[in-house]
């Protein structure tokens, strides 16, 4: 009955408990609203399709991402925060799982383009790795500074980028405020970025692609999956130690 414990923790309200009739009415109202919303989503999808040839597909993926994030209470922030704050690593392990699975997918997509021994990389059709599927972007001091500031922000605000959006849908007022300042911060960041880019110490502009850096797909696969596996084992051990199982 972990479900019912979780929901009592989440909803500590001082209001008197609602009667069964009230609960039935609320449930009917919400189900009706949800159904109407699904219809609206389909209609909006048809509209988006008129604006963007892949619009409806992107829209449905977005809806499915939101639905999945909410149903599974998947939270990247908690995956980073909980090991330090509570010692829990269940979400951390889930994130590693998601990353390992995605790595397999990206590997297939990219290998098709680069060739098994990266022979196509640097050719006319595939100038550099940043043209490959996935975000292969500049790696450097800016990544570390940005990631660090982002990590602080995500924990304080109680949700990262995807988490903030998900919690907005769940009805959290705090995240509706956070998004306004997230947007404002993005503009500040967009102003700061060119200043960083002007400094050779603060900004390194080269994207670094592991198969290229390590000299081929085989070492890249060993390093990528080896590290992910090692971190998973470490997270598992740490979680068990903290919960007293070891």
């Amino acid at each position: 009955m972990s479900d019912s414990t979780a929901s009592t923790i989440r909803r500590t309200s001082s209001k008197p408990k609602e009667t069964p009739e009230q609960r039935a009415r609320k449930r009917k109202k919400q189900l009706t609203a949800g159904t109407i919303l699904v219809v609206l989503v389909i209609l909006l999808g048809l509209f988006i399709q008129t604006q963007n040839p892949k619009g409806a597909f992107i829209w449905i993926i977005g809806i499915a991402l939101g639905y999945t994030l909410q149903r599974s209470r998947f939270c990247f922030t908690a995956a980073m925060r909980d090991p330090v704050l509570t010692g829990g690593t269940d979400l951390t392990k889930a994130v590693i799982m998601a990353i390992a699975l995605s790595s397999l997918g990206y590997m297939a997509l990219q290998m098709k383009l680069t060739g098994l021994s990266l022979e196509n990389l640097g050719s006319e059709t595939l100038l550099d790795a940043s043209k490959l599927p996935g975000n292969i972007r500049a790696a450097g001091v800016q990544t570390i500074i940005g990631g660090f500031i982002f990590g602080i922000g995500a924990v304080i605000a109680g949700g990262c980028a995807s988490g903030t959006l998900m919690r907005m849908g769940e009805g959290f007022m705090q995240q509706w405020i956070a998004i306004i300042f997230f947007v404002a911060g993005s503009v500040i960041g967009a102003v700061l970025l060119p200043i960083f880019q002007a400094s050779p110490i603060l900004y390194q502009k080269a994207p670094i692609y592991l198969p290229q850096l390590l000299g081929g797909w085989v070492p890249a696969i060993i390093v990528q999956f080896g590290l992910l596996f090692a971190i998973y084992v470490l997270a598992d051990w740490y979680g068990k130690k903290k919960s007293g199982e070891l």
């Binding site: 499915a64 990247f76 704050l85 994130v95 998601a98 998004i179 947007v183 993005s186």
Partner: protein, 174 residues
């Protein structure tokens, strides 16, 4: 518990929470489907910059001439911006999820501490995501699995940031 038995379909398909592993597998599949079909990976915050710039234009500040925008605002179209569509989708998808589970509830702000947390946290995330060229999605979930070193660097740094953030949270925002 009697109530749950009354609606077995609702309980099983709409109300039951999914495991983290289910979430992980589905997120990976959805993100891969997106990049396979459209060619561009899942991103979130790229759209936020443009919305901010558009807002500035609306109040009479032409941010488009700034170095950070460089004319991108004039060409911007919400419905052609993949992150803008998926971002909206995530909010609506989560709302559908809680409504169909009959668990929607407006969670009001309890104290001014929460407001400050949202303001400072939001600002930090915005600035950080721009500098790192992406957020926990663009510079992590769509980067690390794509064998980009910046995804690994982002992971190390967001983890350290989260550790510092946890201390700040305990000290000032709880």
């Amino acid at each position: 518990m009697g109530e749950n038995k009354k609606y077995p379909f609702h309980e099983t398909f709409l109300k039951k929470e999914w495991s983290y592993s289910t979430g992980a597998v589905l997120l990976a599949i959805l993100a891969l489907a997106l990049v396979t079909v459209t060619g561009s990976a899942w991103g979130v915050t790229g759209a936020f910059v443009m919305w901010g710039g558009k807002f500035l234009q609306l109040v009479g500040i032409n941010a488009d001439t700034w170095k950070g925008f460089n004319g991108a605002l004039a060409k911007y179209n919400f419905w052609k911006d993949q992150p803008a569509i998926t971002d909206t989708g995530i909010v609506v998808g989560a709302l559908i999820s809680v409504l169909l589970a009959a668990q929607f509830k407006i969670k009001k702000i309890k104290s001014s501490k929460n407001v400050w947390a949202a303001i400072l946290g939001g600002l930090c995330m915005g600035i950080g995501a721009r500098l790192a060229l992406g957020c926990n999605i663009g510079s992590f979930f769509s980067a690390l699995p794509a064998f980009s070193l910046h995804g690994w660097l982002f992971w190390i740094s967001i983890f350290s940031g989260a550790a510092v953030g946890s201390q700040l949270l305990k000290k000032y925002f709880m």
